[in-house]
Amino acid sequence: MSSPLPDSANPFAPRPTPARRLEGAVSWIFRIATYFVLACGLSIFATIFWKGSATVFRAEFPFVNTAFFTQAPETLYVFEWQGEKREMGDKEFRVFREAEAAKAAAEGRPAPVIRADSYAHSAGGIFPNVVGTVLLVVGSMTIALTLGVCAAIYLSEYARDTAAVRLIRLAILNLAGVPSIVFGLFGFGMFVIFFDWNVSLLAGWFTLAFMVLPVIITASEESLKAVPKGFREGSLALGATKWQTIRKNVLPYALPGILTSSILGIARVAGETAPIMFTAAFVISDRLPWQVEKFSDMFFQGVMALPYHIYVVSSKIPQNEYTERMQYGTAFVFLFTVGLIALTSILLRNKLRGRYKW
């Protein structure tokens, strides 16, 4: 506006009404709330990254702590030796002690008494835990996706809208709200005791699968329903059977949505501690899952898992600087693993979504 007008000439000038003032205040409240949440999230990630990277990375080549990724957790022994503070893992410490005893015997001295403080799970690495978590995720997601997608197809494509089907839907929705510890107890009673599978991979798979099933069924059903009716009608009008229609002309288009839901499922399955603590998780195991006599034994043994390991090192052991490394290192690796799985699914989904657009 080049020529200034008198105030009275502008009917659109802002007026300091209460609604006007509230507008400004409200937008600030929302903004602050959002940034507060963001700050909390970032500070959690930053702490884990900062403290965890001290355990995970190394300054010299190969820049990662290979022992942390390749070894099993061990007890850490901390002691003074000839005026020097030494830290040793369980195996190393035993070798050291025997060597010193032998050396002393050769010299005709009594074996030296080494007073060491021991910290459980604070040496070695978390290789079996990563393996266990990956096995739990892959197995339970396979079970959950197979059952869940089948159930979703039935509910969305085959079932008629009867009272019974509505009841089933309601039950599924409710199941999604059941606390995970309840699933853990159910799995313990059902698979560990009743089926006599003991604490095993198999029991953990089914418990975790049942826990994510409601999410997967609901989300899969939604993505199946989002496929336009015209695709089904067009296919059926060409003489396709219902299953041909679903397989060729409905399911492929629903797949990106189903994958999105399974990303959420993966994050939950990988992260839940409660369902596996009674059914599948070992505090410590001296064998890797595939070190079994016959192949089928693999499914009937417990595994170590990342979230349960975090729980063990954080709750059962008094806090100290040595254990803290383990806690944050494990949390770091855990977040990274989940992030990697989720990223893979997102990339896969985007690829599929690009192929089917309407």
Partner: protein, 279 residues
């Protein structure tokens, strides 16, 4: 347009077990015989006592105001209504080539291979043009590449779309214009060589030029197919159909040669509708 392409194909796969006499049914003879048909959506009756004989290789138009039952009747003819819960034919019968299509020995899957359908909203699948056309054959287990290629060209020529899309057969069918999409759906339908093509307001979403092309196509297609078209446009019915059925409130009011329905209707309700006084 190469309209003779599909004409030479022998009609195979009988619907159920047609009488021997039906093989050489002549043009214009009754193909679909609807008798005393009462149709219900749950407890609500949608069609009342419909009696209608639809001749072979002609274009029959169903007209009437919204909710008059014309689409419902159309969808009865290939049993698409089976997909809706609670629908039932409570009385009467629909016979195609003397076979009751609601009979116990009729598989709706086989019926729909013989009675194709083109929908109001064009619904090309989110696949390539080629895959759209071959969809019907592939689900029947046809894998022979040469055969599929032939059918694609023949069907696209039959639907007057070949010249427009022959260079992009492997691009998505959704990249076509609205009118082309609808002709693609027609091509997909004729690729399985049905006997009857049902068209449910095929031009309601198209502009006048695309509509004219589809109407021209209908003219060509009736040489080989029996066509039944539901339309809201009376001009369209007048332009492209041989006979017209007027429906009102679930009842068939009048069925006659199109010329008679528009120029010389016998029923006052028909007259009121075609002259634009209601509907």
């Amino acid at each position: 347009m190469d309209s003779t392409a599909t004409a030479s194909v022998p009609r195979s796969r009988p619907l159920a077990t047609p009488p021997a006499s039906s093989a050489g049914a002549e043009r214009g003879a009754t193909l679909i015989d609807i008798k005393d048909l009462d149709f219900y959506y749950g407890a609500k009756q949608a069609l009342f006592d419909i009696n209608l004989q639809i001749p072979d290789k002609r274009v029959t138009a169903f007209i009437g105001p919204s909710g008059c039952g014309k689409s419902t009747l159309l969808r009865c003819l290939n049993r698409m209504n089976d997909l809706i819960d609670g629908t039932s034919v409570k009385r009467g019968a629909i016979k195609i080539r003397n076979v009751d299509i609601y009979g116990r020995d009729v598989d709706p899957i086989e019926l729909r291979k013989r009675v194709g359908m083109v929908f109001q909203k064009s619904n090309p699948f989110p696949k390539s043009i080629y895959e759209n056309i071959t969809y019907g054959l592939r689900i029947q287990g046809v894998k022979n590449k040469t055969r599929l290629d032939e059918v694609v060209e023949k069907s696209l020529r039959g639907a007057a779309l070949w010249d427009e899309v022959k260079d992009r057969l492997h691009e998505s069918g959704l990249g076509l214009s609205g009118g082309q999409q609808q002709r693609l759906c027609i091509a997909r339908t004729i690729a399985v060589e049905p006997e009857v093509i049902l068209m449910d307001e095929p031009c309601s979403a198209l502009d006048p030029i695309a509509t004219a092309k589809v109407e021209e196509l209908i003219h060509e297609l009736k040489k080989q197919f029996t066509i039944i078209i539901v339309t809201h446009s009376m001009q369209q019915a007048a332009r492209c159909s041989d006979q017209t059925a007027f429906f009102y409130m679930g009842k068939l009011i009048e069925f006659d040669a199109t010329h008679n329905i528009f120029m010389n209707p016998k029923n006052p309700q028909t007259e009121a509708y075609v002259s634009g006084r209601f509907g």
